[in-house]
Symmetry: D2
Subunit: 432 residues, 4 copies
Amino acid sequence: MSTTASVTEPPRAHDLQSRFCEVRAFTESLAAPLSAEDQTVQTMPDVSPTKWHRAHTTWFFETFLLSEHQPGYTVVDPSYGFLFNSYYEAVGPRHARPERGLLSRPGVEEISEYRVAVDAAMSGFLTDQLDPACSRLVELGLNHEQQHQELLLMDIKHVLGANPLRPAYRAIDRPQSRQEGEPAAATGSDWIEHPGGVVTVGRDDAEFSFDNEHPGHEVLLRPFALSSRLVTCGEWLAFIDDGGYERPELWMSDGWGTRRQTEWESPDYWDLSDDGWLVHTLTGVHALDPDEPVCHVSWYEADAYARWAGCRLPTEAEWETVAAGRIGTSGVGGLDLLGLTDGTGLHPWASADEQWTGAVWQWTASSYGPYPGFAPAAGAVGEYNGKFMVNQQALRGGACVTPAGHTRATYRNFFYPSARWPFCGLRLAVDR
Amino acid sequence: MSTTASVTEPPRAHDLQSRFCEVRAFTESLAAPLSAEDQTVQTMPDVSPTKWHRAHTTWFFETFLLSEHQPGYTVVDPSYGFLFNSYYEAVGPRHARPERGLLSRPGVEEISEYRVAVDAAMSGFLTDQLDPACSRLVELGLNHEQQHQELLLMDIKHVLGANPLRPAYRAIDRPQSRQEGEPAAATGSDWIEHPGGVVTVGRDDAEFSFDNEHPGHEVLLRPFALSSRLVTCGEWLAFIDDGGYERPELWMSDGWGTRRQTEWESPDYWDLSDDGWLVHTLTGVHALDPDEPVCHVSWYEADAYARWAGCRLPTEAEWETVAAGRIGTSGVGGLDLLGLTDGTGLHPWASADEQWTGAVWQWTASSYGPYPGFAPAAGAVGEYNGKFMVNQQALRGGACVTPAGHTRATYRNFFYPSARWPFCGLRLAVDR
Amino acid sequence: MSTTASVTEPPRAHDLQSRFCEVRAFTESLAAPLSAEDQTVQTMPDVSPTKWHRAHTTWFFETFLLSEHQPGYTVVDPSYGFLFNSYYEAVGPRHARPERGLLSRPGVEEISEYRVAVDAAMSGFLTDQLDPACSRLVELGLNHEQQHQELLLMDIKHVLGANPLRPAYRAIDRPQSRQEGEPAAATGSDWIEHPGGVVTVGRDDAEFSFDNEHPGHEVLLRPFALSSRLVTCGEWLAFIDDGGYERPELWMSDGWGTRRQTEWESPDYWDLSDDGWLVHTLTGVHALDPDEPVCHVSWYEADAYARWAGCRLPTEAEWETVAAGRIGTSGVGGLDLLGLTDGTGLHPWASADEQWTGAVWQWTASSYGPYPGFAPAAGAVGEYNGKFMVNQQALRGGACVTPAGHTRATYRNFFYPSARWPFCGLRLAVDR
Amino acid sequence: MSTTASVTEPPRAHDLQSRFCEVRAFTESLAAPLSAEDQTVQTMPDVSPTKWHRAHTTWFFETFLLSEHQPGYTVVDPSYGFLFNSYYEAVGPRHARPERGLLSRPGVEEISEYRVAVDAAMSGFLTDQLDPACSRLVELGLNHEQQHQELLLMDIKHVLGANPLRPAYRAIDRPQSRQEGEPAAATGSDWIEHPGGVVTVGRDDAEFSFDNEHPGHEVLLRPFALSSRLVTCGEWLAFIDDGGYERPELWMSDGWGTRRQTEWESPDYWDLSDDGWLVHTLTGVHALDPDEPVCHVSWYEADAYARWAGCRLPTEAEWETVAAGRIGTSGVGGLDLLGLTDGTGLHPWASADEQWTGAVWQWTASSYGPYPGFAPAAGAVGEYNGKFMVNQQALRGGACVTPAGHTRATYRNFFYPSARWPFCGLRLAVDR
């Protein structure tokens, strides 16, 4: 990441210490409702066990901060470097990703102890004498852990969703109707017009951001409009009813091949029962709410839907340009996770404003790639974003499972076009 | 199974009750050293999680006894029939075997409660009024559970063995040398001669046995001899050193193809370290003992070894004929499991007598098939053995992980010729 | 092969020369109706291209006779040893079997030239001075080539059958009704009774036979009966109509798994059209004839059928014992190939006698394995039969595509239980 | 294609007729050196048999012109629509692409007849009364056939290259040294500078072009420079020698995963012999010439190479902007195919000018996607380009196997980033 990019003022020790405690504790609170068994299972190669997320985020601080910059530090367990490295080639060999669910040891208790030990060491490390470069690495580690908080929720949803018992992550009652004083659902269909021209995307300022958001640069846009809200489940039902999953002319060739092989007929986590469509959410199985934003659709489906609707997906630059005016260029964020809602668990009356970053990630028409002039950060953390810049599609915004304050208008998320387990949906665009 | 085959006296209620408690408790004692995480993991399709074994053996009693024969019985959880049916097509659909490790729920606590509930119901069911046919089904259920006790140990060895940390199931010190009064190791090379002729194999008597041991029938043998002991690790090292894994002329064509694909170069659980060969056992990693019986070799390897040694594997009939004179036709058995040894954990001075049923299962030259006149038992339990009578090889004897009293001279075990995770080794035979 | 087994008189040079010409020419006559394109295609790993068969059988003579025993012989092309070795590990590395269809060169013309060159060299080699051991190798080579004649027809049927155009190998008119003087169809249901007891199977005599038929040995049989005829297509339709492909209780576990994966619903080459069942044969697509023997069923299907019919498959020993009385112990054989019929192209009125060796290979209940005392031939040709003695099922008899004179009562064929592209059917047996 | 794009003057009948004959004849001349066997084989799913290319290009004219627009036209064979449709969903079901090599029928002779019949019908169709829309479709069909001429050569190179005999497509002697008067090799390292700013890419004019080149639009570039020539084999050797294939930090994550799985260690068709590197070309196996442009490298390799060289790949817009000044916006083209050279068969002294379109396709940094405002053509031909606009990378320029006159500065080619069988190499770019 490009924390070196500019005049960034590193965070002060006290603030960092406090933020460190807060983020680390939040991870533990997310794992708290889960049994040892829940934390162990991996249901597909993309999914990691909860206990792995808890250990890997800890390994990040141990490896990039304590081992390198804290004199005399001894690692908690020499085998953890092998087990909990995710993909950093420069750090050494590592346990194969698809086999994370084969490990019963270390167990959740040992991982709790690992977290406690590293947190204690970090507490001694985060002093006023902290080197600015280290401060920036800590900041990166905390943003990294926030990403894994979201991944933890995505992944545990998949684990629980693969179980025929369809257990809830946290069973809560959902309000059956709009509460007094709550905003109305975002079901209108306003278009936000933009005249095109040269705009600036990305950033070079002093706030924390990832390297893939750099450098800020100018882009020439043609006139276009973005929908003021997300596509809803009710609209998706119309797509299904109109044969959307049966008409190859609506799909990319690779998308159609995927659809035939997977036999997709609806978004992930949807089931057609005798009582209509049911949706598996983190809070259990609920009846589908047509006013909610659709979630858990792949890029292939989102692209086909947009074509069916006579529209297209927005480009990254278009999305960012419009969003920037609404959510600022930094620090706005997702929903409060303590509410533990998900994309299908949002209040159906979630406001259009909330939908920019707090409902579901929004697929764009843009392939995820480097900005002109992009250079990855030096060292092993340079593997953070840059090496994934092919074959994936960019998503923008943020989701209801994104930690508060984590996302922003310039934030770039990315997944393979077949991915459905992220909390991903779409917003339409049109040429003008 | 052919409990209907003859004049079998069904076990009396009191004996059955007591035996039921004993077998059921023993399963729990085997699971006791394992964490919830350990009990959840499945490392390959053949392996089942410990908690699945605990639940499946319980489901057997609930399904075939309580649900069918106990008036008014209500199943503990209607979903368990789907989750814990192993392969009984006649009972209904079931959860896919390779996905047993994807289930975090029900957890170990719920499965403990399931066992308690079914045990309580069985306690009320096992009265003096028990129908003889039901008694025989209970007897079958207990033998079934004993088989799963062995599978549980085989499977957890695989789970722990796949972990780079190489944890022990139960860490115990191994005696480093022969204790006074202990028998000498079986390293001599006596041949037990047999003149051939018509012999009887299988059985029709009143003792419990599985259907695949029936009917007793005559077989015409040619003169042969069996080794009085098992092939040892030291002998296997000589095979390795002589290029045994590199010489296709020693192997069956399918075996050679498997060896090339798997890159086998030694028995499973062996590792060559700087300090020589190490062996992963249920009691941890130990140095290889050349006097111990070799274990965890596939049929393909056993067959190649025998050819290399200028011998062959015994047929089932040969093995049974010789063994019967040594271990009787019923009830002799494996080692006491509380000792928690395994094939590579046996005392190197295990006696030749103990090696008939208490060390490792012994691959035979015989394809596993029906005896002449074989008929599977009526009903769903008829799926127990008969439907596996193709593509597998018969093994005889018993292993150190086989519950005491479970095996006998007529007992027929079977696995695919590529299987290495059972406790399987070999004994040589020659034509005379 | 065990040509060394006994006092076999080697064939005389003149007879061998004449037989050599005859067999070699017959292969070419089988390839004659096929285009260069037909001879190049491989539709699955088990299938070899026609031109490969033509070259491989030539390579056999070049490698085992000319190169080893003809002083001064120079191979036609040094690369052919790599390309046309089938599976002889002792001869050296070889081109991968599943990739035979990737080779456009050498083309059919070059292979014709290869055959001519080797035939010319063999002509000079087959003199009265020929060493008896060489004579026996030539005899083996001719029997080997006859086996490939059958394989060539099996394989080209698969190639043409995979083509949506469903071309015929040789289009001929089929008689629509019984011709005067022709025998009636074998549709009666007589049982041939056998009292059991000790019988001799296999052979040790002076006639040519393969090593897997040796040694002759005694076997103890229980009373049984064999059907006097093969199961017909009409009977198979009754099996289908009775849900035979939908009832797991009729199937071996592996068979049921295969059936589900493959979605088999009828024998291979059958298609249900608006006009009823059509069958693809070497002579084109014909309406199914219910009186013909069923063909192209796997062992799994044959076994399930037998169970459905309340019978079982015969063992090898049972089949041989009954057949020996009908067809002698040597030299009887299949149909004249010039008629170019296949299992579904047989005259529906084929006699019961003809069905022993001239209709379809008959699956047995026996796993293909070594006879007691079996020893493979010395040298590379020892890889001929022995190394396949696991995982496969024995078939007996012969088929309409088996060259005349090639088969006999002791002849043992073998295929994996899932194979359907051989000309294989079944004959029922029962216990008495 | 963008026939709707503008005021395009359709070609006149006479010109079209003459051009039709020329293009169609050229396809046949390319197939002429190939045997029936050569034309039948398919070595991987991406490769099509030569005879399929010959038939498919014919099917295009039959389907989109004759069947739709020529009254009374009857298709040559109704089955051909199924067999020779490549990927047009709107036209109906089709034979599976990976199985094209399983079809021996129709043979090369029948396909020759098919071509003759359709050419005759087209001759009657291409009159002065031809509808302009039809003229444009014919033009599209001819450009389509030219693309398949290149594919035919790429594919047959793969077929012959997979053969251990390494046959040549057309054996010709290569000049061993520079001939008098020939230009010097392009081995200098000039950078062509560009100041950036708003440029126009794509096109809207009257000349033929594909739909993916439309619409012309403005793009904002930053200052950059392009190399005046392609990367050479000699430079690639330096990359290999410097561990380029062993250093994950040079690679994209997906690229590194692919490299590990495929075990790539050099460009495709390279072999390291005792005499140094050999290269398989359409004219046979030759010693590697360090001055030739490197060919048959995937995007993953090209990207890694550029990073290793401290440069990057150009974007599509950068490439087009620079190239346009050198090769005009239309009609310049590849080498004369009658020379039958390939990327490694180019004269090492090929000039820098020739390298823009006549040596190898050049990978760009750009993901292949729609231009802003892109709309696919109406009807089935709209499936031509648009549905492939995800997961692939754009290539620019042209190759020595691209038909003369086929390519241009705005031409967009595309392949998956792992593809190596196209004639693809690279040209470096740098930021300024």
